[in-house]
Symmetry: C3
Subunit: 199 residues, 3 copies
């Protein structure tokens, strides 16, 4: 199993946990947990693959499904034995998952020969759209539309990847991953916002 695939599975597990926690907050049952964990984990990549007309990645790779089931069970056990949701740890895990997904998504889009701008958008969608669908299903205004530069971190990271990849493969991956991760953590820590309207 290669490094990139490994990282993708890790990102998938982290996102599945964030979906399971949303199901817990909404007092859903066991199936609700699984469905919400799944759409959060593979929703973004699914939208990307549909748009690219690529084979949807998890159809041929049941491993993603097993990771989601395992992550959901772990989340259920944790939430039943502990009273508290470890918000801090989750935010960091989510930022790591986000950074992994953006790099993967941008790279896959480029490999299908789309333009740079399109690749950046598809990279952002890979990272953000799973959480967006999760929030829509939970009947909330999606977090990515209003909170702490969520989508903006993805756009910066994906742009770095697109800029550097013609020159150096590993540097592109490293800097895109770091940019998303650090920007996102900084945005959480200092509550960065990017308001464009005076209210």
């Amino acid at each position: 199993m290669d490094m990139v695939y490994m990282m993708d599975l890790i990102g998938c597990g982290v996102f599945a946990i964030s979906g399971a926690i949303m199901a817990y907050k909404r007092k859903m049952d066991g199936v609700g947990v699984l469905v919400l964990a799944a759409v959060t984990a593979i929703g973004g990549g699914t939208v990307r693959d549909l748009l690219l007309d690529a084979p949807v990645f998890w159809l041929t790779q049941p491993n993603y499904i097993y990771v989601i089931i395992t992550a959901s069970i772990l989340a259920i056990i944790w939430l039943n034995y502990s009273e508290k949701i470890p918000e801090k740890a989750l935010e960091i895990a989510d930022a790591i998952g986000l950074a992994l997904f953006v790099v993967m998504g941008t790279s896959k889009a480029l490999s299908y020969g789309v333009s740079d701008v399109t690749a950046i958008i598809l990279g952002m969608m890979t990272g953000c759209f799973g959480g967006m669908i999760r929030d829509v299903l939970a009947n909330e205004v999606p977090m990515i539309l209003q909170k702490e530069l969520y989508a903006m971190c993805c756009i910066v990271g994906a742009s770095l990847y697109v800029l550097i990849i013609p020159f150096h493969h590993d540097l592109a991956i490293g800097s895109a991953f770091s940019a998303v991760l650090l920007l996102r953590l900084a945005a959480i820590k200092w509550k960065w916002q990017m308001y464009v309207f005076k209210y």
Copy 2:
């Protein structure tokens, strides 16, 4: 017209009625009724076909559209001449439609050569996702995420189909259909739930 296609159209009509009733509850106009009836009836199969990269079934079969329009008109007439929504009859009709769709969806997914786990998921999606989109459009938390084992019945039925189909074709269809139908009716009657969290 063969048996399976006939059953699919019946399931489609039943689901369309459930969509039209949701539109009635939300005080929508005539177009709202048609759109909600349509997404409930063909939403699940559409998502399945998009994921499989199969031709979307209703594009080439306008019969589905005619069934939806007819069912919507019948629902409108009924709701205008009767004060009461026949909840009981609807739940049974919905369970029959669900069972039909799960069998159809799992079978179609297998015919595209996906793995067993994937076929079970796509069978479940065929049955559940139409209603899920209906609930999202009506601005509600989807019923399948919280009520009476809705998705779980589909998963059990689809699993039976996948297990039995290598040995006996008719037995696989019969047992999957019966499993979804009976489990769903039992879940409604005895208000089964599958809570995984202590609150």
Copy 3:
């Protein structure tokens, strides 16, 4: 740049502005504005292309993205320097965009060889589904399901197109465009509704 493509870009810009204004009403940040503008502008056409298994139009045409970004920036500047949203002007602009999208969508669907009924539905979806996704993301019951014949105007226009196109190309475009535009403006002015239920 040909006429049709030009008209499509204009419709896209108009719809992007309506998305940006929804983001403003929901107090979203800069990224929320961009995402909501984008789904409104290209959501309908994207769903159409996915259903037709056609290449998604904006993947290969970054011009659509540039139009969306420009329209979003203009909307942000306007909303910051003026206290008032020009509701009237927007409704007219939206009706023009709608008419353009319905003609484009129906025509593209027919060029993929689908039946007339399907082409009418896909034309309606091209016009309406972007706004529907916008409303779902903003956590509202979609306007098209309840207001002023929105989808019905599209269905009438698309039907005219399908009826006339075998006889005369320009007449089909002209009458479909005029039908959507005039019906929509009349529906707004005289508050037409198409209630099918007595409440």
